[in-house]
Symmetry: D3
Subunit: 308 residues, 6 copies
């Protein structure tokens, strides 16, 4: 585990609670230093909880957030103790999207002596911001995201980079970008089409910026479960994360990596990559441990898999 995250964790919140306590523990009272927009905790063994914590600012994404996310998920990627992640947001609003006040300068008046140089600078900025959400996808640990209330603009970019999406009944989603004069450029237009099954709906959402409520989010497949309220949702998210964390990290992380790979490649390319991946990954003790647990009808949570 990286020292920053370790330092973030060693307050009072990283004991192994039973599920409900765990969820209660997930309501952080503030960001965990050195982060100022994120609160990190470990509500259960091998599970890391990342909470977007700027509730007083509607969890809008300011400059600092964009780089803290990269630092945070790079560390999670390296942390052998972490095997699953829950991402949520403090308060009643998941996020209002970009904190325009904080970000406008950079975007509206890029440096540069002429259009070419301003464009160069702008491209630099966009690529940097794309990385903020791509780290979630590149992190081999599965990320379960839990959305309550409004999830607007860059919030949709964020959640489409997560692996499993849950929401509350009162959640709604809005691909807001055309309303403010731009095409969504940090992930929504790239990931939403493969996240949900109806291309007509993807286009409608992105071209009209209309809100989509939880029931439609469920029926179109953006989320895989709708829960009545935030607490229930966090419990459900935790349960999923705990299930994942209980399984062999070799199996789980290989599964995520190959699922992402197959989204972007043909089936035959993906089968080839998979075979090349598993030629070593099948040589793991976890196979025998898992098989034995199955035969002995033991719960996988009680099987001690080595860290990866």
């Amino acid at each position: 585990m990286s020292s920053i995250i370790r330092c973030a964790l060693f307050g009072s919140r990283r004991l192994h609670h039973p599920a409900l306590n765990a969820v209660r523990a997930m309501s952080a009272s503030g960001p965990t230093p050195p982060f100022t927009t994120l609160s990190i905790s470990q509500p259960a063994t091998h599970v890391t909880h990342v909470e977007l914590h700027r509730p007083q600012k509607y969890n809008s994404m300011n400059k600092v957030f964009w780089s803290e996310m990269v630092e945070c998920f790079n560390q999670i990627a390296e942390d052998p103790e972490c095997r699953a992640v829950v991402f949520s947001a403090a308060g009643k609003i998941f996020t209002s999207g970009v904190d325009i006040m904080d970000m406008a300068g950079e975007i509206l008046s890029p440096d540069g002596d002429d259009t070419a140089r301003k464009s160069w600078q702008t491209r630099h900025i966009i690529i940097k911001h794309q990385k903020t959400f791509s780290v979630i996808e590149k992190c081999p640990k599965p990320v379960v995201v839990a959305v309550q209330g409004p999830c607007i603009g860059a919030g949709v970019d964020l959640i489409t980079a997560c692996d499993i999406r849950l929401c509350t009944k009162d959640a709604w989603f809005q691909v807001k970008e055309v309303d403010v004069g731009l095409a969504a450029d940090v992930g929504t237009l790239q990931r939403l089409p493969s996240a949900i099954g109806s291309r007509s709906l993807v286009n409608e959402l992105a071209l009209t910026a209309r809100k989509m409520f939880s029931d439609e989010a469920m029926s179109c497949g953006l989320v895989s479960r709708v829960l009545p309220d935030k607490e229930t949702m966090l419990t459900a998210a935790m349960e999923i994360a705990v299930e994942i964390a209980a399984r062999s990290p070799v199996a789980v992380q290989g599964t995520k990596i190959n699922l992402v790979y197959s989204r972007d490649h043909s089936v035959s390319e993906s089968l080839d990559y998979m075979a090349t991946w598993n030629m070593s990954m099948l040589q793991t003790n976890d196979l025998m441990k898992s098989a034995q647990a199955a035969m002995e009808k033991k719960n996988l949570k009680d099987v001690p898999f080595s860290n990866l």
Copy 2:
């Protein structure tokens, strides 16, 4: 605007009506010269309405239709006044597909001294017909299609090339091609699989030619809304088009172009393209105008964006 479309419009139909009048205006009394199968009008500011108009022939697609579509959409692509398109069909039947009587000769007896030359000629014809629907996709202005009654064979090829699909309760869809001895070759087999979420259903429709009714079209995601009747549907289509047309054309058309791009590329390719696209497109006054409208709680319809 191209002169042909301009000439088509300057009869009585292009004033800015309130919504309902607009829709009434959309029931054209006949094709707009120089077109003989299409009726073009401008029911609202920045919105072009294209109506397939051969109701006495079940809106079947004759030779002339296939080239008029190309001419029409190429002109729409170039027309700076147009920012959104509604496509519909006159009468009670969306389309019965290819007008076999008119087209059979070309397909059944291609020119050529031997099989190779006949095949060469046939390929030429297929590619030409594929272009008829690909122009819809290449046109950067979003196209909302509204389907009533039967939409058969080439009709499915057509609508899968549109961006947003609505239909009436009495609509049904049929990938008819296997019934007449051929594999669908002008778009259905290529675009339907990414339009809807169930591959099993795609295969069933294409391999058995069974009809799919509006409720299944909705639940599988082929259409994003089912409306009770044609007039209501056209109103809904118009409203969507008006919403789109009210937004920054830089934002809207960049969104369509990048949505089409991301369908055919990996996420990382698409993010790279997006960044390269937006490095200039973010340098638009529309950002400031949109932001200001948001702050002043003004309706975007009242914001005068320059043409693109």
Copy 3:
């Protein structure tokens, strides 16, 4: 028709029954020699029925099954009499997945003097097993699969390689692999994401190994129909297969080949391939025969298309 399949068929089961009889005939009393895990029959003209037949072993997949499948589907691919396939499983359980007892040795202790050589051997084994299901996809005849009861682990790999999926009300599906310590490597991670519309659901299923029941399988699009019981389901599967088999094999098999192609290529690549494909395939007498049948309102089942 290959001699092995021919020999498998020339017992008592290959007469042309009316639908119900056909389905009854589909409950085989045992594997058809030379196969020991598969029972082959021809329940209707141009329809081949392949039944996984190890009910006493929960239809688990032993070593012999993996190679019999390849032999069987290669022969079906070559058999000009066969135009559609129904795949089902004997008894009440579709399949419990890999027969671990029979297979463990090969996977758990691959030959080789060092890790590199063991990995080389393991990759060899994985690729061989991937072929078992890829033959279904490479076979140009459409395959309708009918699932009852549990369909676990490699069962999901199998069915995602089929074209049309039906199931009974009591069916459930489980991507079991992470439970036994590995990432699914014979097709699920590669084909499931394009089979169903919700990526969040795909990830959840693959990362948590939770069961999915028939109603969710229907709403997410994994299956295109749920039937009340096995007999009804087999009747429905047969009807679909009979519909397909009644159509021009040039049209049907060209449709399957191009649907598989378009899954793995961009739309413009796929259109180009389609045009190159159809430049010869449109020069078939089936076009005229089909058109004539349509005009004479004849059932396609009564049109004698030549074998392909």
Copy 4:
């Protein structure tokens, strides 16, 4: 043959001369109406000669040239009489590249109210200009280009889109674009790397704009032959074109199309496309005619292949 090209040809220059006369005939006295920058002739059966004809302006490429090329090559593509093309330039200089005086306005001050709209307009212009050379590649008839003296800037974009390149001893090539402040955007950066074998050389040429002389052009593979002077070179180009034109057009044009395809696809993709292409193209009488000619030791020039 299109009427425009036919009209261009029916002056005095399209008789079937023996080789040398043919080449003399290739020194046109001026552009062929309706073209003002191109001179079209038919120096031998089935061979079309296109000459860039603005010698007094160093054959620089003015606005009119860019669209005349598209018209010209689209017509050649459709002209069944034409089976091979020679492209050359009048006078002593192949081309000085873009006619900056004529073109500067469009590029330096694109229309548009803000940067986004100027960029949109600029992209439009670039894509239009890219088409000017892509038509050469899309035309299925092989194009032999013959270069004398300087070939600068857009000249290199042009010749890399041709199929076979010859030059005179005094020829030199210069990827001039970085000297005038831009990255070459109409083909050089895209096609030069696959045209020649040394990537280090490609980079050096494109990044430093240094001249490359004929001997280096030969040794690096940009041209496949260097001839002592223009007349000899044109004779050689004609001979190659005549050789090509004498062969089966089914074979020749299928070869070009598949060579271009294989440049842009993997070997296995290309083999699949080739098989799908040739499944009809092998069904040509040209096979028998060619085989018979071979057995009778007849020259292929005396074999009457049907037009394609």
Copy 5:
């Protein structure tokens, strides 16, 4: 080693000779049963020699050859004793290409009731013949090919699928297909462009069917060495094969597989695949053995690497 190849070898020719003897041994007196067109021997440890042996028929490729090649190279791929292959041809002529007399029927009059069915059959045949040379590429053991005299038509398809090409001074190469009325469809158009550096030359060879002699084959990079006569060439080929066979088979075969992969993928894809490949392949004892040999200045030929 497969039993067929083993049986082919256990006559008198598989002892470990010093180099020259080895080469002498390579002049087989006839095909090795069960093959009728190929002679198999083992001229040195871990080196297999495959000789095309129909000298009295100019080593033309008859029906039997096309399937014997597949059988032969599939067995070589599986034979752990073989680590490098030399491919050569008996007599003075490498090959005259397809044995037209033997093959014409199948190609000129494919079975089938209409054009579509004939095309289907033709495609089947082409794909089968493509496999004959693709097995060379898929075989992980490097193949050194040695060409003397004429190498015509399908001979070029064959050698471009080999890894290292040598030829004699009197060798010449001819992409003959356009001369007989077809586009080369079993590998030349797909592999030649990436085999040599000059695209202009590739096009010229394929479009005009002109002969290319050994000096040009050397300067364009088709062959990497020209030797004065057949015996010297075979010695050189043997030396290369022996060098390769002396090295770690884990290293060598991984190198071939990744070189083929990188030809068909982007650099970043290839680096990813390489890392996934080597994560297990670096865990080999061969690293230590090789390093030790280097430190002890031992010849690698004396290092006993385990078979793969």
Copy 6:
């Protein structure tokens, strides 16, 4: 400019010397802090010189080198003052490749409780080392590499990631990896095939590990110039770098980025990307400045382009 590089430069070596002095200045007396394996200087305006400086260790690549390279080139990428880079190595030997003593531990005994975990760790290490050379390619400033004496193993990986390659007469190149029991995994197998024109040669070099001397490196296109000795070579490298640095950085860096893009994409993809790139980049003052310089026959070195 980053502070680290700035600090490295502000000793005595960053004045603008005339060419020869510049080159003399390039023989650094030792690494520039904070680097311990690299010496950084600025021998001419806008030109950065990076020298691999471990001559006493044959410039072998130790652990520290692999990360210093990343740091160094990331900073160069960000440094607006730098427009071209010369990479060379101190002393008489370019590099002996990996410093095995320093690196062996990490590679030979990766951490991990089982094979899967060791493999995971190994993959991590390989990817990290691949980045060391990929940063050269991702840095938009062109890199000219100058090679003297032996360039072995990882040295070849390094130089193939550079843009322009020069060498001395006594230089030789060796893809050494198979000699030490592994497949080259940090770039050679991926980049060498597109760097040089002869695939047979690439395969021979990689499969036999034989040395290639400067004349063959020149004729195959690996280097674009051979110079008699190191000083002359450095002068030539400097001249190229100075030429590049004198040109518009918008033009030069856009050229590099699009050349790398086109290596990995089809021509039509690359043309589309180029148009999207240049839609903004053509809106640069550098166009006018360059055009004016051309008209006034001014040397581009005297034109003050703004930094990028």
